[in-house]
């Protein structure tokens, strides 16, 4: 069991900044995110796009913002459970919580902060008849371990970065890789597109465009994929069909936690501390709603800051606390590091 002061669900900018504000109050944080890397949407969807409304940054790339936040919270040594989705929360008799992920990892804390943004990113599934039947029987939406496909015949569908990246990886591992896409053009990093082109030229992969998968066939396991290319259909014997059409956010399991939900967001008390209807569970950033709510990173930072003050009172009801300025108090990390203003020297000038 992972024990901490604040369990943060999500690892986007608001979640990351919570670690900093909690750290100033000497509270430890552990973050859980369904994506494999921290940064949320900023890292997953638009790392190379600029943001113009972060105070003091006239322009900053979303990916750089994440990197800087990670650097800023380094002294506070946050824990991470990445690539796992928080599915269940259990309130304990002492009013603390245990949060459990889809892989069974358990986390214990007195405070839970939901900073889940738009929710959990789930794969977008193509509209194919009987698709669900073949899930875990030859249809995969996420590649977790390329070794699974060693020596197998794989058909990948999609035209973005992940379809291209995995085509390159699996070309080395699988017996056969077919990449199909609805258009001849691919949207990906230039060198990735070039690499796939050269794999095709060397006959290491088969490329079928513009085409779509139309029918899946098999017995207990997927065996054949029918591909429609304009007026022509072809059948391909495969072991795996991997549609890679990006991710779409869903509120997911959080919606069953007994929290008050309004328009796909969690209602909070914004006049006080961004607490939900369940004491001890807070919701901050894009995932919450209240009158006048704006889904902006800078608003998430503000919400995180107020929330941490309230969390402190909940964790240490008997302790008195007063807001401190980092310029005055410096920063003392859990790693023993210390940042502080340089002392001025008092010396007379003759």
């Amino acid at each position: 069991m992972i024990k901490t002061d604040i369990i943060i669900i999500g690892a986007g900018p608001t979640a990351l900044f919570t670690v900093f504000q909690a750290g100033l109050l000497k509270l430890k944080c552990h973050l859980i995110d369904s994506l494999a890397q921290p940064g949320g949407q900023c890292a997953e969807i638009y790392p190379k796009k600029p943001i113009y409304d972060i105070p003091s940054h006239p322009e900053i790339m979303a990916g750089d913002l994440v990197d800087r936040l990670l650097k800023q919270i380094e002294p506070f040594q946050p824990g991470f459970t990445l690539g796992e989705t928080a599915v269940d929360i259990q309130r304990q008799t002492d009013d603390s919580f245990i949060v459990i992920t889809n892989k069974g990892t358990q986390h214990h804390a007195k405070v839970v902060a939901i900073a889940g943004g738009l929710g959990t990113f789930e794969p977008r599934k193509p509209n194919l008849e009987g698709l669900q039947h073949w899930e875990d029987r030859g249809v995969d939406y996420i590649i977790r371990d390329p070794e699974k496909y060693r020596g197998k015949k794989v058909l990948i569908a999609g035209g973005g970065d992940s379809a291209l990246d995995w085509t390159i990886v699996l070309a080395e591992v699988a017996q056969q890789v077919i990449l199909i896409h609805r258009r001849n053009e691919f949207r990906g990093a230039l060198d990735t597109v070039d690499k796939v082109q050269s794999l095709k030229d060397q006959n290491k992969i088969k490329l079928i465009t513009p085409a779509e998968v139309s029918v899946l066939k098999g017995n207990t396991h997927l065996q054949t994929v029918v591909v429609k290319q304009q007026e022509m259909t072809t059948e391909h014997s495969v072991d795996y069909f991997i549609p890679l059409f990006g991710l779409t956010p869903k509120l997911g399991p959080i919606s069953n936690w007994g929290l008050e939900i309004e328009k796909n967001a969690i209602k909070v008390d914004n006049s006080l501390d961004y607490q939900t209807n369940i004491p001890g569970i807070y919701a901050i950033g894009d995932i919450n709603t209240y009158p006048g709510k704006l889904k902006l990173i800078l608003c998430g930072f503000h919400e995180a800051t107020l929330m941490c003050q309230s969390a402190f009172k909940r964790i240490y009801p008997e302790k008195r606390n007063v807001l401190k300025y980092t310029t005055v108090s410096g920063i003392t990390g859990f790693d023993g590091s210390r940042k502080e203003v340089q002392k001025s020297t008092i010396k007379s000038i003759k």
Binding site: I45, Y46, K49, L118, R124, P126, N127, G158, G159, G160, H181, R182, R183, E185, R187, F245, G246, T248, P249
Partner: protein, 104 residues
């Protein structure tokens, strides 16, 4: 100047809206402003297709950018007249525009 546009939602209900042309809004944002069920997940970067719609009127729209083309090539339920609402800027030429929201 406001223009009148018609949005048919996913239940087939027709909504007549007045859209401002001087607020640099796009169709996705207009739908959100009227609390129609358009998610606009990516915020308008042509990266999620949650604002996909079918253009029913014969208005001449600005050409699709490569980003919009690419997104529509990966989206589902795409038809000949599919567009991403976030890429349709509100201007006076769109008076009387009629669109239908694509399935989610």
């Amino acid at each position: 100047m406001d223009i009148k546009i018609t949005i048919i939602d996913r239940e087939g209900v027709s909504h007549q809206l007045e859209a401002p042309t001087d607020m640099s809004m796009n169709l996705m944002e207009v739908c959100k402003a009227y609390e129609l069920p358009v998610e606009g997940t990516c915020g308008g970067m042509a990266m999620c297709a949650s604002c996909q719609c079918y253009v029913l009127s014969g208005h001449e729209l600005a050409e699709k950018t490569p980003d919009e083309e690419a997104m529509l090539s990966e989206a589902f339920y795409v038809k000949e007249n599919s567009r991403l609402g976030c890429q349709i800027a509100m201007d006076e030429k769109l008076e009387g525009l009629k669109v239908e929201l694509a399935p989610e």
